[in-house]
């Protein structure tokens, strides 16, 4: 229970159905430190809200100190990922580790039968096991962020909001249940960088990712300078300091040489996307197969051909039309509404300038 309206409604609905509901709220970071306000409590307003909701519902509730786990598994990975020249998705890491690994384990230890969350996704039981599907409301669908959930975790998970037609319906449920958080605004930023200044955090944890360096084209020609590779993502056009009509976009990041490599916009999409750390929600496919894929959270799935090589544990996704893919983001495969599996996008464009770069 984050203290937001979604997980609060989940708790309320399950309690109403007569389940014995145990609320768990993760304290993931020191709120006082995150908002940089001296004397502010380590617990933010959201934790207080979650406790109030649980109290209102008359359910047991616990605040779990996961600060060190979150720092190691999510925040450090976030900064390291930027330092590798990637664009991380911390929400996937958090779901993968702190939420579905640790909370499922805790729930089992407590003798619970299921872990329910406020995610907008659907889980359907089929003879072959549970399936993960997109939420009924396409605007809210969070199935992309759940691709790393294992089949065993999915069997234990419940997503009671998956069939909600829209957020307004969830808020109406909150009102009906008498929850004070009914009108609470949606959270926007990355939770541990409340002011959205993620770059300051990365610079503190990985100063190397914030060191200035050169902006070069794919032939190694220096076009300008940048203020740290962590400020850039593949496909980005702004913030390069190049003339507006240069049409150049970030093609790749070369953190070892602190270089941002740019190319004309038309040259950015790639024909093949290598994907690692793959999690299958189907039996691992033996042969190439057709599917749709999302290469970032906010996009429509594209038709692709996927090839899985079990020996190297690598997935190569070939979109029908070349796509912009940023290393570190998720590549999630769908068949209609169903999530088949997914993984993290790896660099497809080797640091191509290495060979051709003129000797210094």
């Amino acid at each position: 229970m984050s203290g937001g309206v979604d997980s609060s409604v989940v708790a309320g609905l399950l309690a109403e159905q007569g389940h014995e509901v145990i609320g768990a709220t993760l304290q993931l970071y020191d709120h006082g430190a995150a908002v940089q306000k001296k004397g502010a409590c380590c617990a933010g307003q959201d934790i207080h809200d979650a406790r109030d909701v649980a109290d209102r519902l008359g359910i047991a509730h616990y605040v779990l100190d996961r600060e060190s786990r979150f720092r190691d598994a999510v925040i450090a990975d976030f900064a390291d990922s930027y330092a590798r020249g990637e664009t991380p998705i911390p929400c996937v890491r958090c779901n993968q580790t702190v939420k579905f690994q640790d909370l499922v384990a805790l729930a089992r230890e407590l003798g619970c039968e299921a872990l329910a969350t406020g995610h907008y996704a659907r889980r359907t039981d089929r003879p072959g096991g549970p399936e993960l599907r997109r939420a009924a409301d396409p605007a809210r669908d969070q199935s992309y962020f759940l691709f790393a959930t294992t089949r065993a975790q999915l069997a234990f998970a419940r997503f009671p909001l998956g069939d909600m037609p829209d957020k307004a319906a969830v808020r109406r449920e909150a009102v009906r249940l008498g929850l004070a958080v009914a009108e609470k605004p949606d959270s926007q930023d990355i939770c541990f960088v409340p002011q959205g200044h993620y770059h300051d955090l990365v610079a503190k944890l990985r100063p190397d990712a914030a060191e200035e360096g050169e902006i070069v084209d794919e032939s190694g020609r220096v076009l300008g300078r940048h203020q740290g590779v962590a400020r850039y993502t593949v496909g980005q056009g702004r913030g390069l300091g190049l003339s507006r009509d240069s049409g150049m976009r970030v093609a790749s990041l070369d953190p070892a040489r602190r270089r941002v490599v740019v190319a004309p916009a038309r040259a950015i999409p790639v024909a093949e996307v290598p994907v690692g750390e793959v999690n299958w929600l189907i039996d691992p496919p033996q042969a190439p197969f057709r599917a749709e894929a999302k290469f970032r959270a906010r996009e429509v799935p594209q038709p692709v051909t996927a090839r899985w090589d079990a020996a190297s544990a690598r997935l190569v996704v070939t979109p029908d039309v070349p796509v912009i893919s940023a290393p570190g983001q998720g590549c999630v495969l769908y068949e209609g509404d169903r999530v088949l599996g997914g993984g993290f996008i790896r660099a497809s464009r080797a640091a191509t300038v290495d060979a051709e770069a003129p000797a210094a």
Binding site: Q27, C41, C42, A43, R51, Y62, L64, D65, L110, G111
Partner: protein
Amino acid sequence: MSLYLDANATEPLRPEARDAAIAAMELPGNPSSVHADGRAARRVLETARARVAARFGASPRDVVFTSGGTEASALAVASLRRGRRVLVGATEHPAVLRAAEGAALLPVLADGTLDLEALGSALANGDPALVLLMVANNETGVIHPVTEAAALCRRHGALLHLDAVQAAGRIPLDAVALGAETMAISGHKLGGPKGAGALILRPGLELAPLVAGGGQERGRRGGTEALPAIAGLGAAAEAADPAASARLGPIRDAIEAGLGLPVAGAGASRLPNTSCVALPGASAETQVIALDLAGMRVSAGAACSSGKVARSPVLAAMGLGELAGSAIRVSLPWNTPDDAAEHFLAAHAAMRARLRAEDRGSAGQG
């Protein structure tokens, strides 16, 4: 079946304290008023003061009522510090640690008791000091050698403040005989209502107030006294006879014997009601939640106002860092039923069985 076993967080209200608090609430007067109703309120206030003084070997004039233990310690530190360097035990409660930021930490021995040798050498080297020590630790129940510490302080011209919040009512305490400048106690840890405590002063000690207000408490703590809570504190102090609390020792010992697990400070002299016991390999958080769901109210580490179960620095200071994440605190209240050990052991055994089964289950899946 539910059992409250978190007395060191707060003791259940004693019936004597409830009666006294309710009676005080019915009084219309302010103890500072000159009329008959004021005098009646003042009588309740001074009765409470006499009761607290009697329980802790002090004179009533040396008892200053506060809002609780935290304020009592803050008042002592603010008043006694005056340019002195501050030395504080490594396992002190945040109420004391936060009142003396920048203080030097005095180490404890492996059994959790204050390292007297370290105290002696710290006092011998340096300017006059103010020493802040707890009589008994909130998490382990370990009783510190405060008489010896007080003698060392006297020898080196240091002032001593004692945090007796956990010891009060559980072991005999004589403020004057202990030889401290000041001693803090808390009403709700004696079985009184929350919201009142006291600072007990060495005879003749003058104290500057933190809040001057209308000069209440002989100018040592301003603000109209919280009469119902103070009346309850007085009644609880009178009722909290350490001799009665000795009854809890055998129950605690039965729990420890039944568990057969590592106990922090087991070798030291401890409060009879407290056990800090580790289940290696199981997180304290999981244990507290599992036991709560089974009706057993215990705690782990120091309770944070956010409600999270935080890792305790107390065990780390004792060199038991590896147990810190797996130790829970069972603290028996004054009204612990005689068969508490039996019920607790049954709930604990059920929890262990499930954790073991879950362990095997996840090992199989891996």
